[in-house]
Symmetry: C2
Subunit: 189 residues, 2 copies
């Protein structure tokens, strides 16, 4: 009894939202894409209020996006950041986005990563993480962030990963509020 392959696909609205050819230069532009993904995921009812996007830091090129897909795909691991990592690595054909002489990659995520996503950030090879909403904002919706401590963040920083907090926090948090007022599923209760 081999279990059939698990398929992880974007919801069908992605191409209508995302401009794949644009160059994203500022932190705010990158974060706005992550927030737009989080909002569209709520509006289209395809998942939780979380979006992420991965960029080539040097050129501003978009590599991959991600959106929470836990409920849509019956898969607890599919937070927005995880989908973005998987898609970026599939596109680049490599299990790490870090190399000695290649491009530097960074991720914008509409909310501070949970424990799982923070661990995956380390394995992903991204060198810089932009965070929108704070973990406290997610907590107000009763989303648990898991065992993330100040020393967890330091662990990543000590390994050369820059973490920037509160980029467009209010805009990111507005999507969390939109989800709350719409009584969206809180799957990590």
């Amino acid at each position: 009894m081999i279990i059939p392959p698990v398929q992880i696909a974007y919801p069908d609205w992605v191409d209508s939202l995302v401009d794949w050819d644009r160059r994203y230069t500022s932190d705010e532009e990158k974060m706005r894409l992550a927030i737009d993904l989080s909002r569209e995921n709520v509006v289209r009812q395809t998942g939780g209020p979380f979006g992420a996007a991965i960029f080539d830091r040097g050129t501003g090129e978009l590599v991959a996006v991600g959106m929470n897909s836990v409920v849509r795909l019956n898969n607890c691991t599919l937070h927005g950041e995880m989908v973005a990592f998987m898609m970026a690595q599939a596109r680049l054909g490599c299990f790490s986005l870090r190399s000695d002489d290649g491009p530097v990659y960074e991720m914008a995520t509409s909310c501070e990563p949970c424990a799982m996503c923070l661990g995956a950030t380390l394995w992903s090879g991204v060198r810089r993480v932009l965070c929108g909403a704070h973990r406290d904002d997610a907590h107000r919706l009763n989303f648990d962030e898991g065992p993330v401590f100040p020393e967890s963040l330091r662990y990543l920083e000590d390994r050369g990963i820059e973490i920037v907090h509160g980029v467009l926090r209010d805009e990111a948090n507005a999507v969390l509020e939109l989800y709350r007022t719409g009584k969206g599923v809180i799957y990590n209760g």
Copy 2:
């Protein structure tokens, strides 16, 4: 430019190793399957030396297995535990293995979970985790386990997840040593 779906499939040796109809009753039987998966993954050169399996605790039925698939599938998130969670949830058609009145599920993993897998353990809904090799055993191979602290484990235990350490540790560790002497890829250097 929508990125094509990511496919997560077992390596083709799984059905020849795994007896899906057997009932696994003791902790040691469950762990031995996780270790067998880790060893086969090394011998067949399909990934790192880590295996996992998820069981219905009440009946001893096997729900899903997992094996490290990071390099094989170019996906940094595919540790053995993550593959097991994804496959179990796909099989059961639910994003959580925890319910008020349903079966209790437990996981055996051949090595203590890294930070990512520990976070995912919380989201997965398993209620009990059996660990084989210690994180120090993985460290000796230069596998990083990420930001896992004693309070990380307590965080899970406080939420009703029992964690049992050192089940058949020597057997589990022997597979790590087999990988080391075979000069396997250390992808989380």
